[in-house]
């Protein structure tokens, strides 16, 4: 599909129809509004940049949450 890109999300490849912003990316993964932190190619993406920052082909994205732990 023209314009579609591949992004590695938490270690697994995923296809997106077109390069999404971080906000759109979270929306498509049903994570909008959830308390998550995002790392893009090893760098933190601050929440304040979710709307403007656009992902690109081959990006390595980590989406993390807090879980129970000791």
């Amino acid at each position: 599909m023209a314009g579609s890109i591949r992004i590695l999300v938490n270690g697994a490849p995923r296809e997106f129809a077109q390069a999404p912003t971080v906000a759109q990316f979270l929306d498509q993964l049903d994570l909008a509004g959830k308390r998550v932190a995002i790392e893009r190619n090893g760098e933190i993406v601050p929440r304040s940049r979710f709307v403007e920052e656009r992902l690109s082909e081959g990006d390595r994205i980590e989406v993390v949450v807090a879980v129970g732990g000791g």
Binding site: V9, N10, G11, L29, D30, L31, K34, R35, V36, A37, I38, E39, G42, I44, P46, R47, E62, V63, V64, V65, A66, V67, G68, G69, G70
Partner: protein, 269 residues
């Protein structure tokens, strides 16, 4: 409030300039469900609770609440940990994500493991991570071995608390080496908290009687038959141990018995 209760209230644990009434810190792992987690942590009276940082399961558990909804940061001081990290680099990366997740919150628990069997800390990596994290403005509470020199090095690097193990994580073996702990307590000026190895209430009380500033535990509560009840027991034990430490125990006199009742006025023919 009567006088001893007021004394307990005044005797705050101060970490990185913030005062806490409770000297018991608890983990939030290994519980049956979030309801049990919430009830146990409430019963423990803990104000500082640890959480782990993990990849989210995309497309799974959509409706499930997050631990931060069960234990809201408005009520608890959330202490993100680096459990499962084996290098300084991974630990630093994890805590940068945690800080973003928790809106810039700087307090963090550093633990860098040395091997998966013992979960013993890798101290060279822990020291390296502590150095980077302190430089980046984190307030580091460092899980460490009970080596007094390494504990001092963590303090010198700027850690806000050192947290030597009592025994291996999740082992419930209690305080294996009280003498090393004592040396650390005597020589370190930042708070010293025993982290890992507590099995039951008496272990926590002994840690506090030695002069520890606090105790951090998870499995001892979560894997008790009745976690909520054990959480309450731990609260009492930490308070009792602290009070005993402050009260100052009587000297041990192994070769000298001394009756508690008067020796004169005995009824005799």
């Amino acid at each position: 409030m009567n006088a001893p209760d007021q004394a307990v209230a005044r005797d705050a644990l101060v970490v990185a300039g913030k005062a806490y009434r409770s000297r018991l810190l608890v983990g939030t792992g290994k519980y049956r469900d979030f309801d049990e987690t919430r009830r146990a942590i409430e019963a423990s009276g803990a104000e500082i609770v640890t959480v782990a940082i993990r990849r989210t399961n995309i497309g799974q558990n959509k409706g499930e609440p997050s631990i931060l909804e069960v234990l809201p940061p408005s009520r608890y001081t959330i202490l993100p940990n680096t459990a499962g990290c084996y290098t300084a680099q991974d630990a630093v990366r994890t805590l940068r994500l945690a800080r973003e997740l928790l809106d810039g919150h700087a307090l963090a628990k550093l633990e860098v493991l040395g091997d998966a069997e013992s979960l013993y800390p890798n101290m060279p990596e822990t020291l390296a991570a502590a150095k980077t994290l302190v430089a980046e403005g984190f307030q580091v509470m460092a899980y460490c071995s009970d080596d007094p020199i390494l504990a001092r090095q963590l303090e010198e690097l700027g850690c806000v608390a050192v947290m030597p193990l009592a025994s291996l994580i999740g082992s419930g073996m209690g305080i294996i080496n009280p003498w090393n702990l004592q040396i650390i307590i005597d020589r370190i000026s930042v708070p010293v908290l025993v982290d890992a190895g507590i099995g039951t209430a008496s272990d926590a009380a002994i840690a506090m009687e030695l002069g520890c500033d606090g105790v951090l535990m998870n499995t001892a509560i979560a894997k008790a038959k009745e976690p909520v009840r054990m959480a309450h027991a731990m609260k009492l034990a930490v308070e009792a141990g602290r009070e005993a430490f402050l009260a100052g125990r009587m000297p041990k006199k192994p070769y000298e018995a001394s009756p508690s009742s008067p020796t004169d006025g005995l009824i005799q023919d």
